[in-house]
């Protein structure tokens, strides 16, 4: 289920856009104040819809603030119809520029077209609990910093995140990650978990829960 963020100071517009996009089965988060949008949080979304004219920080400023951090499509949604503004918007790295008044049908068509192209390209990153895993680069990124996981630590995290919310015993984890099932795996896994938690905690995160008597699980992001 694609996850979208819409930023607009106009509540009526937000409601309208949300209703339109939820018709297509998307999960829509909204924000009325662009200054509260954190670049590091944006990688949680598959697509961003930004209003241009907003009181404190306008959409262009917001876009330039976050474009370096996120790779997903950014669409402007605006009443500014002048060519100069449109060119400026695309120049900031935007992927579309939808002029108001727009029809709901057009909005949905354009959003879906951008999402469709994203899906076509092999996605090799996944985010959970504020951590983004790049399976090609083999790195985990929390906010600004990349977490210095070792190979084994990264593998355990990746497996937990891929099955977020599911509990694994230490033995299951060892087997899933390292293949075979040795003797003292449980202690080894416990040691890894300790180190992983320490590194996550340095980034202010603690997404790994202990299920007493059973094992560990990565807390799944709540689906609002």
């Amino acid at each position: 289920m694609p996850k979208l963020l819409v930023v607009d100071d106009d509540l009526d517009m937000l409601a309208l856009v949300r209703a339109a996009l939820e018709k297509d089965g998307h999960q829509v988060d909204t924000e009325t104040d662009s200054t509260t949008v954190q670049p590091a949080r944006c990688h949680l979304y598959d697509l961003l819809l930004l209003d241009v004219m907003m009181p404190v920080e306008d959409g262009f400023s917001l876009c330039s603030r976050i474009r370096a951090e996120v790779d997903c499509p950014i669409l402007f949604l605006t009443a500014k119809a002048e060519d100069a503004a449109l060119v400026q918007g695309f120049g900031l790295g935007a992927d579309d520029y939808i002029k108001k008044p727009f029809s709901i049908a057009e909005l949905r068509a354009r959003v879906n077209a951008h999402l469709r192209r994203e899906v076509r390209q092999p996605t090799h990153t996944l985010s959970q609990g504020g951590v983004r895993f790049d399976m090609q680069a083999k790195v985990a990124i929390a906010g600004e910093h990349t977490l210095p996981f070792t190979k084994g630590e990264y593998a355990i995290c990746e497996h937990l995140v891929l099955h977020a919310g599911q509990v694994f015993t230490k033995e299951q984890l060892y087997e899933a990650v390292f293949g075979f099932d040795a003797e003292g795996d449980s202690s080894a896994v416990a040691e890894h978990i300790k180190n992983i938690r320490a590194k996550l905690k340095a980034g202010g995160l603690s997404p790994i829960e202990t299920v007493w008597g059973v094992g560990y699980k990565w807390r799944k992001d709540s689906v609002r």
Copy 2:
């Protein structure tokens, strides 16, 4: 240099569009009769611009004929402003729908935005981490000097840079660069990496990171 195909029965429009896109340094091919467009030939292009209303076969028909064959962005360029047509266009797999009359600035901005998203770089030079690779001349240049890479060293670098940010095991690297997979490749690759790093270090650069337990990767510039 990106290669574009524009299909329109209106010669004036074709000239206008061609002039606009060539300003951005693109190579523009044109076609006036959509029926002569062969799906198999479309692979040559990085982006297609289709007029909707054409006498024999309209743009929608053409799009549905070729969409399965080509993955590149398809943009409609049309006077049909109705929502239904727009939705139909996107439904056929199009990536944008530009309504006439459009400004040259908007056309250029949209075309460039779509090209920017394309992974395949038609250019034969690329820069990463302060090193510029000329894939035609097979030379790497850092600042003033050309780096004295051997053929194998250059090949490894080029592959790493082409997939900057992605980790490769020594075996993967050997196979990707030299074709087959022999016995002691890993040591050979390690040796190459050592020499490459020495030569890069002479220029004050060290873009190759080792991911312990996995392999090597070229650090990706975080510039868009």
